[in-house]
């Protein structure tokens, strides 16, 4: 029998994508496209600008020439590849084992190789598009600073593509093996292992590379030691290093085909080995994944703990909160994102701890306060990304069950209330821990500590409200995977609104904080006067408005939902 082409197997996917685009355009999506293009362009320009400046100044250091830029590129690509392996493992679980089109594909006379390549392509695309987009301004900055010319763009693509293929194959293979080892859809156990592996991997990565060394050249006995560190490969067996060597070779006009050949042959070998493994294990793994889900669930635990704690709530709200918590912890596509969150926090605190700050007074005092203050913005941004992952999809995830909620006498305010607090409470705890720990690491004064914690509380309440509202204004009811909801247009608009709020609050607070820091720096007594109160008031008003107004909008929008 003649096998269908790979493009034919993938047809439903690309046709759906095209149709979505057409529908967007038909429903006045040109405006959206313009906003997307502007935001994307600004983001790219920002990344490009910062890196361009850094590379330009580094290139001017004569003794080191392109060594540090090469090292930085290696580190960037290494972090890309670690993110890619993790996200491919998680994506492969849905595309190879849980996707809705699998019943059709597996029951059709499509051979194993086409199925493998189709699903591998899907996994690669879903987990790598963001990293690929992020790489564009970075590589462009390298190309411009080192005068790579037009051909560099093509060369960079040739160097980066195999670097995307390798983690996709590896991630899919890891998932395939794990699904085979663990009995019947025990994804919870499976992902616990991935979580442990990921956390261990990140810690190991930082211990091996010690990126903080690069920021402290004075820690080396002499320049030679520093240069030796720079010349040596960060990790000679990793494809990120090969890609970095290939790219830097081209930019230094010392064209060496070896890294490129190594990249492509390894990618080809990996795809072949991945296909062999798929042929041997997929059928068994797929069957296991289809077998009954986790059978008996003792839901009583949640009822006795959270249920008892919420005993004071009206029954409808209590049941709704309980339901949301249970669904979150039983839905692999949702809670597995906690792994990424844990990794993010480890890296965050590690970076703060690695900052070379406490080296002498009084400069230290000024910088400590500056970092602590700017950290508010950064922590706010981290919270916004988390809210985008967990709170933004909350309303979309009710889509298929909305018939039940709309036909029952549940007040929409109760629904919104439950969704808001289920998301806000953990976010607030996390925000306060993140700010408190960072400030403790920085050894800030009690004034800064209290100010930071109060600001973080206001910001968290507002960020949650914005996430829930934009998730309601731009719902994605038909999505298969909760992890894909935040990457929609609504998610982007939410991030933009949050960044605007963060900027407003930070600028307002700076007026008051600057007065405090300056007084302490100059040895004057700190007076909390009307000026400081005014700006604290402005920041508080911004947070309050950004909480109440969006929630009202969300409620009005929800009343117009039709299914």
């Amino acid at each position: 029998m003649k096998q269908p082409s790979l493009a034919h197997v993938l047809q439903p996917k690309w046709r759906t994508a095209l149709q979505r685009l057409r529908e967007e355009r038909a429903s006045g999506g040109t405006g959206k496209l313009v906003i997307l293009a502007i935001v994307g362009g600004l983001f790219w320009a920002g990344v490009f600008g910062v890196l361009y400046k850094i590379l330009k100044s580094l290139r001017a250091v004569e003794e080191l020439g392109p060594l540090i830029p090469g090292k930085i590129l290696g580190l960037i690509l290494l972090s890309f590849i670690s993110i890619l392996v993790l996200s491919n493992v998680i994506t492969a679980l849905s595309s190879f084992f849980l996707a809705k089109d699998l019943d059709l594909l597996v029951s059709a006379p499509v051979d194993w190789l086409r199925l493998y390549l189709a699903k591998l392509g899907e996994t690669l695309l879903h987990s790598s598009w963001m990293v690929a987009l992020m790489a564009v301004p970075i590589l462009a900055a390298y190309g411009v600073v080192f005068k790579g010319g037009v051909l560099f763009a093509l060369y960079a693509i040739i160097a980066i593509v195999p670097m995307l293929i390798l983690p996709a194959v590896l991630g899919s293979a890891v998932t395939l093996v794990l699904v085979n080892i663990f009995p019947a859809r025990r994804t919870r156990d499976l992902l616990s292992i991935i979580a442990l592996g990921a956390a261990g991997g990140v810690i190991l990565l930082f211990r091996v590379i010690r990126p903080e060394q690069l920021a402290r050249p004075e820690g080396f006995r002499n320049l030679l030691d520093f240069v030796i560190l720079l010349r040596g490969p960060t990790s000679p067996f990793l494809p990120s290093e090969w890609a970095s060597q290939a790219i830097m070779g081209f930019l230094r006009h010392e064209l060496d085909p070896f890294p490129l050949v190594l990249l492509w042959t390894t990618a080809a070998a990996f795809v072949t080995l991945g296909a062999v493994l798929h042929r041997a294990l997929y059928a068994q793994g797929f069957t296991k994944a289809q077998e009954g889900a986790e059978r008996f669930i003792r839901g009583g635990w949640w009822r006795w703990t959270v249920g008892s704690l919420l005993g004071w709530l009206p029954v409808a709200k209590r049941e709704f909160v309980l339901k949301d918590i249970k669904l979150f912890f039983r839905d692999t596509t949702q809670w597995s994102q906690l792994i990424l969150l844990a990794v993010l926090i480890v890296v965050y605190l590690f970076n703060i701890q690695a900052l070379p700050l406490h080296r002498g007074e009084p400069v230290g005092f000024f910088y400590v306060n500056l970092v602590s203050f700017l950290n508010l913005g950064l922590a706010g941004f981290v919270l916004a990304s988390i809210a985008a992952r967990f709170i933004f999809p909350a309303v979309s995830l009710e889509g298929r069950q909305m018939w039940l909620l709309r036909s029952s006498p549940l007040d929409l305010r109760a629904l919104l209330w439950s969704k808001y607090w289920v998301g806000t409470v953990p976010l607030l705890v996390l925000g306060l821990i993140l700010t408190g720990l960072t400030n403790a690491l920085l050894e800030v004064t009690p004034f800064m500590m209290i100010m930071s914690l109060a600001t973080m509380t206001g910001l968290t309440l507002a960020i949650s409200a914005l996430a829930l509202t934009f998730g309601t204004l731009y719902p994605q009811f038909e999505t298969e995977n909760a992890a894909q909801i935040p990457t929609s247009f609504g998610g982007l608009v939410f991030m933009m609104a949050t960044i605007a709020l963060l900027a407003g609050v930070i600028v307002s607070l700076w007026q008051a904080v600057y007065q405090y820091v300056r007084a302490v720096y100059e040895g004057r007594p700190v007076v909390i006067d009307a000026w400081m109160f005014l700006w604290f008031g402005v920041a508080a008003a911004l947070c309050t408005a950004a909480t109440i107004v969006p929630l009202r909008m969300a409620r009005r929008k929800m009343e117009t939902f039709e299914f």
Binding site: G299, V315, E319, F320, K323
Partner: protein, 252 residues
């Protein structure tokens, strides 16, 4: 009692439901028949308060569903055609959750859950996640959830789809007893035997309009159909010529 007054629903320029008026009194099992795309599901979803009508209103026991939604919905049990429920809740958890939406809790709810699960033979499945349920089991669970708060009216879209013969029979008996005790049932169905056997009155919907309504005998009389079966009557009113063409195509 369910009353529809000049109910209309437009999707852009497409008229899905066209000025439907209907009164289903207490103690009546009313069937809504019609070909695919006739507007039955849209009508039922407007009654359940899921869709907002473009014009007209829906009254459940005297309460307007869109002006006074909470008290109107307290009277209603809705059973949709597609059994979408939370996959990651167990059957018992789902029923407890639905009871909570109607403000009910405590021992009486637990007893009601046990009773309904027993009736629909789901007791041994009560602690299993819904994702492991078959289509028919999900349908039974949704029917249980619609009955959990003892509604006055039941609106049900294609009740027999996915049910095994035993469960289908059970459902017929439940609906019959429900109306005998003064409840109201409005159901849409394609299964004409079911409609003929169960319904006290029927309405045939075509292109968003009611083209015939009343008891089966009334409809026969109105359309001078003699002693034609409901199937013949239905095909006559909704375009039987197409069916004959289809039979010819398939017979080639």
């Amino acid at each position: 009692m369910i009353r529809l007054e000049n109910l209309t629903k437009l999707y852009g320029s497409f008229v899905a439901v066209d000025d439907i008026s209907l009164h289903v009194p207490r103690g009546v099992l009313y069937g809504c028949l019609g070909p695919n795309g006739a507007g039955k599901t849209t009508t039922l979803r407007m009654i359940a308060g899921i869709l907002r009508p473009t014009q007209g209103r829906v009254l459940l026991g005297g309460d307007d569903v869109h002006i006074n939604p909470l008290s109107a919905k307290m009277r209603l049990g809705f059973i949709p055609d597609r059994p979408f429920v939370y996959d990651k809740l167990t059957g018992a958890e789902f029923l407890r959750f639905v009871a909570g939406l109607y403000g009910q809790e405590g021992d009486s709810v637990e007893r009601r859950i046990a009773e309904l699960l027993e009736v629909f033979e789901l007791t041994s499945w009560k602690d299993e996640l819904v994702e492991a349920y078959s289509h028919g089991m999900r349908q039974k669970l949704i029917i249980s959830s619609a009955l959990i708060h003892r509604p006055e009216c039941i609106v049900v879209d294609e009740p027999m789809v996915g049910l095994d013969p035993k469960a289908a029979r059970l459902l017929k008996d439940i609906f019959r007893q429900f109306v005998e005790r003064g409840g109201t049932v409005l159901m849409s169905t394609h299964t004409l035997e079911v409609a003929e056997a169960m319904c006290d009155q029927i309405a045939i919907v075509q292109h968003g309009k009611i083209v015939a309504a009343g008891t089966v005998s009334d409809v026969r009389r109105q359309h001078q159909a003699g002693d034609a079966s409901l199937e013949e009557l239905f095909l006559k009113l909704t375009g039987g010529a197409q069916v004959r063409e289809l039979v010819e195509v398939l017979g080639r």
